[in-house]
């Protein structure tokens, strides 16, 4: 983490950012030309269903199954790796074992990495929920001159490569001004990791909440004000309940992506051994520098991350009663 950053890296980061900002501006321009408010928000979606013929059904199911198997190959491979012992040579595993999954709760280093990632992600998501929802509310519902800028600032982190963000943070917060403070990455990278997770995943939260707010007709708020409720009461009793599913969706998505965050985790996470997040730990195993040394433990950590993602999907699908999944994992 010392030495100069190559100007090529910075230029590349800038290029990616420019492309993303331009695409964002175009989409924003397009969507701002029409209204997406629905008075029926909160109502149940009841699409008209048509059952295809048996042959077509078979074709669709078969195709999807094939796609699923092909897509699931890496996951299946990881699972096999995490649940079996392999001989030094040979194609097939020699023994099924649960020891690598057990290591998730027994191995001190592994447990610490899990708890670290969990802690960073939970705190980051909590900050995102408050900050992201507030930004979205201002952008969607208040007519202030700087709202477009605010929206841009909250969305643009999605286009900043994680490594660039991590290096920038490192260079900025390791200056003498911050030396020895909680923000100094050389003292403790935890706060910076939380900050990095928050900033990097904030767009998932703001977009999700913004989408919800966009669908709330302003008359729903006005009716509340008209009946004697203050703005705060209106926010608490009308607006938040109507966007709660969007907040939860955004929070789950941000949480999943924070847990599996790689680029800043492997950069800033390297600075203190007791602060390493899961993904840094996995990278150590992959590069053979981890104390544990077993690739299968890395695989079991991957399975853990996948489980977190699948659980989030299940929550989104069944608890929130959403028909379509919002997760791109």
């Amino acid at each position: 983490m010392t030495g100069d950053i190559s100007p090529k890296v910075s230029a590349l980061a800038l290029l990616i950012m420019m492309v993303t900002v331009l695409s964002y501006a175009l989409v924003k321009y397009y969507t701002s030309r029409r209204s997406y408010t629905m008075i029926s928000k909160g109502g149940r979606w009841s699409p008209r269903l048509r059952k295809p013929r048996a042959g077509i059904q078979l074709l669709v199911v078969g195709g999807l199954l094939l796609l699923f198997i092909l897509g699931a190959m890496p996951q299946l491979g990881t699972f096999v790796l995490a649940s079996t012992n392999w001989a030094n040579s040979g194609t097939f595993p020699t023994k099924i074992t649960g020891e690598y999954f057990r290591a998730l709760t027994t191995n001190r280093d592994v447990v610490r990495a899990i708890l670290n990632s969990l802690g960073y992600s939970v705190v980051a998501v909590a900050i995102m929920m408050v900050v992201g929802s507030s930004i979205s509310y201002v952008v969607a519902k208040r007519d202030i001159p700087t709202k477009s800028l605010l929206d841009l600032l909250a969305t643009v982190p999605v286009s900043v490569p994680g490594v660039s963000l991590a290096v920038s943070y490192f260079l900025f917060f390791s200056t003498p001004f911050f030396r020895g403070s909680l923000l100094d990455p050389l003292t403790d990278p935890a706060l910076l990791l939380i900050l990095a997770y928050t900033i990097r995943r904030l767009p998932f939260m703001t977009r999700s909440v913004y989408a919800g707010l966009q669908q709330i007709d302003k008359s729903l708020e006005e009716a509340s004000l008209n009946l004697g409720a203050t703005r705060t009461t209106t926010l608490g009793k009308i607006v938040i309940p109507l966007i709660v599913t969007n907040v939860i969706s955004g929070a789950l998505l941000s949480f999943v992506y924070s847990m599996a965050e790689v680029s800043t985790s492997i950069t800033l996470g390297a600075l203190r051994e007791d602060r390493v997040p899961i993904t840094f730990f996995i990278s150590q195993i992959v590069y053979g520098t981890a104390a544990v040394g077993a690739v299968s433990i890395g695989a079991s950590l991957c399975i853990l991350l996948m489980t977190v993602q699948i659980t989030a999907m299940a929550v989104s699908n069944y608890v929130l009663k959403q028909k379509t999944s919002f997760l791109g994992v």
Binding site: I39, S40, K41, G42, G43, R44, D217, S219, L220, E222, A223, S224, L225, N226, L227, G228, A229, T230, T233, K237, I238, P241, L242
Partner: protein, 353 residues
């Protein structure tokens, strides 16, 4: 209940003038309608009364008390929105109880009042349903109950019937009027439907391009319109433009080869002016009346049987005239028809717009 006064009320949205120096007084307990075409500023005017919009200029007074700067939640007005604005996550009971709960009314009293008002709007037994489980008419009643339950000083109705079908609209407007009479609540009603406005209102203000063009009772507005916009906006009719030949004993106007005599209620028509004559189709007589009348004769160009009458278009010296012919009178297409229109029903208006 309160008296509402709008003084010089103006609202600008950028360069667009939504309300232009509006001056009017709505009396205590009156059913007052703001009527005008889409985009005339009537809803903006109502929203300024509700405190959901603040005027660029001018004042809003409730019983001589200036409420111009007061936020909506401090005005005690009850507004029914065009889309009802029922909260989809709250049941009917919770929707209706909302205004009482924010006023911290004791729970027992809330229940009693909510069930009472639901009973009044014939929604008893519906309190556990969600708004999406109700029909349009029922949703409209919930919206009405939700504002009436708080005993508002002013009832504001923003095109509340526009989402209902024709039959239900007539039924609901009668119910709203009856309810308003019973509760004697000052009511401001916004609509673009002339018939609806005339059937429920004590007085109507006609608005166009942000300005109030005329205020009066439905009969005044209909029979004595003050300008061409109002005359043509309110009901059907024939508009004939011509030149004023004399103003002695009424306005005499020449329209090509036709000469008509009528009344100028505006007092603004002078000899030699260009003017317009507005005649309502239902005001024609087939038999010569006792009162002094104009006579028009022409060829029946088109006839359509409506039910209570036959709508006929006459070609009188190349001018198209719309006449309602009563049942029993033959008016075949291609035949000739002579009709009489009393001077008092021949509305003369200055041609200034």
């Amino acid at each position: 209940m309160v008296e509402i006064e709008l003084r010089n009320l103006t609202k600008l949205f950028g360069d667009v003038v939504a309300a232009d120096h509006i001056n009017l007084t709505i009396e205590d307990g009156e059913f007052f309608t703001l009527l005008g075409p889409s985009g005339c500023g009537k809803t903006t005017t109502m929203r300024m009364i509700a405190g959901l919009e603040f005027p660029t200029e001018g004042r809003v007074l409730f019983d001589d008390h200036d409420v111009t700067g007061l936020p909506s939640f401090e005005r005690n007005t009850g507004m029914v929105f065009q889309n009802y604005a029922l909260w989809p996550h709250l049941k009917v009971f919770e929707n209706v109880a909302y205004g009482l709960n924010v006023r911290k009314i004791p729970k027992g009293q809330v229940k009693e009042r909510v069930l009472g008002i639901l009973d009044q709007v014939e929604l008893e037994g519906m309190e556990d349903r969600f708004p999406t489980q109700l029909s349009g008419g029922q949703q409209q009643r919930v919206a009405l109950a939700r504002v009436l339950v708080i005993n508002p000083a002013v009832l504001l109705l923003d095109e509340p019937l526009s989402n209902l079908d024709a039959n239900l609209r007539v039924q609901m407007r009668e119910e709203i009027k009856a309810l308003q009479r019973r509760l004697k609540i000052t009511t401001v009603y916004v609509t673009h439907d002339q018939e609806e406005a005339m059937s429920v209102s004590d007085r109507i203000a006609i608005q166009n391009h942000g300005r109030v063009r005329q205020i009066g009772s439905p009969t005044e507005i209909y029979n004595v319109p003050q300008d061409i916009f109002i005359a043509t906006f309110m009901g059907r009719g024939t508009l004939l433009e011509g030149e004023v030949t004399s103003t002695e004993g009424g306005v005499h106007m020449r329209i090509g080869n036709i000469t008509l005599q009528g009344l100028d209620s505006t007092g603004r028509i002078k000899q030699g002016d260009k003017a317009a004559c507005v005649i309502r189709p239902e005001n024609y007589c087939i038999d010569e009346p006792i009162e002094p009348s104009n006579v028009l004769e022409g060829e029946v160009e088109w006839a359509s049987f409506i039910g209570p009458y036959t709508e006929v278009r006459l070609d009188v010296d190349r001018h198209k005239v719309l006449v309602d012919v009563p049942p029993g009178v033959e008016a075949p297409v291609g035949g000739r028809l002579k009709v009489y229109i009393p001077y008092k029903n021949t509305i003369m208006l200055p041609l200034e717009e």
